[in-house]
């Protein structure tokens, strides 16, 4: 196999008129990314995207915690499709990898076991009086950014290049298991050589880091994070990835899945507090970005308007490398510039306080 195999796994991506379904985790931890995606599509690319106030969670976190039955999530998904029909759209896009996996699984199950689709139609009608048509296309929101990556490159204000050295930034891309491991044909590049983020990175001047645990899970594991007793599983798997990537000295990590971005950020904090270990340069953590934040920086958006102050690992070292101008005093302001205090310091961000057990 070679890495060009990604070209075997391509899919039709709609060019316009999207029905947007948001992510529980992205809106909680990266609300600026969500807004950036909608703004980039609408303002920078001139596309029509509907944020329908009537849609809900797909309930995927409940489904993968095994408390929401398959029949129930199928009916919730059918309601989302019904709302899309009502609004006059056909191209369904999801901002969440868990949801994207759920939608692909359900569409495939309906195909494979038509009686489940029939049952879903009955359940939806009985519960809500609604009927539905399946979407003409289904994509993850990163597929859409990938689709427009060359246009974004044309509009770029900055590139993924170190302004001091002129060298490409070294980027770890993390895809998120449910993007293509469940249905490899549904993801750009499949599950072996997913290209959705790598394509953006290459188009915008960066360089992907290949490392042994590149395809390993971030460690969410649903019940393994959501239940406090099980969180050792979650941090252990993030730890494995971070240990594996650190020798390659990445400038930043970019994640496809909002959960993965949050875990790789927060577990770096926890590991630094517990062991004094940090994985980035200069004794700091490795900044972890969403792909919307990466696209936003390339397009010249202000980092605080992208919500990058909500990360636990400081992003300033990366902003400095990219030559992004930012106002340090504006980082922790609330609405309308109101000062609301700032977070306490943390080992992962503070070189002076580091005690590195590896030294």
């Amino acid at each position: 196999m070679n890495r060009r195999n990604w070209t075997d796994y391509q899919k039709e991506i709609a060019d316009d008129r999207y029905y947007y379904a948001r992510s529980c985790i992205r809106q909680n931890f990266f609300p600026g990314s969500e807004r950036a995606f909608l703004n980039i599509l609408h303002d920078d690319l001139g596309r029509d995207v509907l944020d329908d106030p009537l849609h809900t969670s797909c309930t995927g976190i409940g489904y993968h915690s095994d408390i929401v039955p398959l029949e129930t999530i199928m009916t919730v998904v059918a309601r989302q499709f019904s709302l899309m029909n009502d609004a006059g759209y056909e191209n369904f896009i999801s901002s969440c990898i868990t949801s994207f996996g759920v939608y692909t699984e359900i569409l495939s199950t309906w195909e494979e076991f038509p009686e489940t689709e029939e049952r879903t139609r009955e359940n939806l009608f009985k519960a809500t009086g609604r009927e539905f048509r399946k979407p003409k296309s289904l994509a993850h929101t990163s597929d859409i950014v990938f689709h427009f990556r060359e246009r974004i490159a044309e509009l770029a204000q900055r590139r993924l290049v170190n302004v001091e050295t002129g060298e490409p930034l070294r980027v770890v891309e993390h895809i998120g298991c449910h993007y293509a491991k469940i249905f490899p044909k549904s993801g750009i590049g499949g599950s072996e050589f997913p290209y959705v983020l790598a394509g953006m990175i290459e188009s915008w001047g960066g360089e992907c880091v290949d490392y042994p645990e590149r395809r390993h899970c971030c460690g969410f594991g649903f019940r393994n994070y959501l239940v406090q007793a099980n969180r050792g599983y979650s941090i252990a798997n993030s730890h494995k990835k971070l240990e594996s990537m650190a020798p390659y000295k990445p400038d930043f990590i970019v994640a496809n899945c909002p959960g993965c971005a949050m875990f790789l950020d927060k577990w770096q904090y926890a590991i630094a507090e517990m062991e004094g270990t940090t994985y980035g340069q200069g004794g700091r953590g490795i900044p972890v970005l969403t792909y919307e934040e990466m696209a936003g920086l390339v397009l010249g958006y202000d980092p605080w308007e992208l919500g990058m102050q909500m990360h636990q690992v400081d992003v300033e070292p990366l902003l400095d490398k990219m030559g992004v101008a930012y106002d340090p005093a504006a980082k922790y302001l609330g609405r309308n510039g109101k000062f609301i205090g700032q977070p306490d310091t943390a080992v992962v961000n503070c070189c002076d306080a580091i005690y590195d057990i590896k030294q």
Binding site: C24, I61, H64, V68, P69, T72, T75, F220, R223, A236
Partner: protein, 225 residues
């Protein structure tokens, strides 16, 4: 009963016990856990052995990352098999016989009830810093100033209208609740509560109280009983 679950039919054909699933499994690295063995037991169709699995810790280790799915040379999905076993374990009330299984009550109360209350699995007020020390000081700052910070990115934070973290309209929430009623979601929630209450009383609690739930949420002692 397992065969009624389409995930079981899709997830298990004939396993040759090669162990590739175990080789790539994040849970197998962390726990004393071997998905190959689960599939091996299930494909014997031995009811007694399967019931023992339904009562065991073993079926609750998987993180449902599905890394096993694209790797299996026989096209099986051990993760789907696990999902179908977990569903059955809860329907039959066997999940309360293991420490990891009993955690389903916490998941139902935290995630499940939040779905019916807000229309989302997770909302910011659910991620309480005292239960999430790993979220760190930035999350504490966000939690303490949520209106200011989320308000910067969404005009609809905890209000009606389009946008992130908006308050769901009553009609949509009613539809979701009716979907849960009609499609078996509420029945599953009731089964989790009912069996947890029985087990809690057996264990000396005054039913499935908040104290019982917090104990199952935090107890991570050795899980083999």
């Amino acid at each position: 009963m397992l065969c009624e679950d389409v995930r079981f039919r899709e997830g298990l054909h004939a396993c040759m016990n090669c162990g590739v699933c175990t080789g790539v499994c994040p849970a197998a690295e962390f726990y004393d856990y071997d998905p190959r063995q689960i599939v091996s037991v299930v494909q014997t169709r031995d009811d007694e052995a399967i019931e023992a699995l339904l009562r065991s810790e073993t079926i609750w280790f998987c993180g449902e990352c599905m890394s096993c799915r694209p790797r299996c040379p026989r096209g099986n999905t051990p993760g789907y098999v696990i999902q179908s076993l977990r569903t059955l374990s809860q329907r039959l009330g066997f999940f309360t016989e293991s420490r990891k299984g009993r955690q389903q009550l916490a998941l139902k109360r935290i995630i499940g009830e939040n779905i019916l209350r807000t229309g989302y699995c997770i909302t910011p007020r659910l991620v309480r810093p005292e239960l999430h020390p790993e979220q760190g000081p930035v999350w504490q700052w966000i939690y303490d100033n949520d209106g200011e910070i989320f308000g910067r990115f969404s005009p609809a934070y905890m209000r009606r209208g389009a946008g992130a973290l908006r308050r769901m309209d009553d009609d949509s929430l009613d539809e979701i609740r009716r979907i849960f009623e009609v499609s078996g979601g509420s029945e599953m929630f009731d089964a989790i509560e009912r069996h947890s209450d029985r087990k809690a009383r057996e264990m000396g609690y005054d039913g499935a109280t908040q104290e019982y739930m917090m104990d199952v949420f935090t107890d991570n002692t050795d899980t083999d009983e």
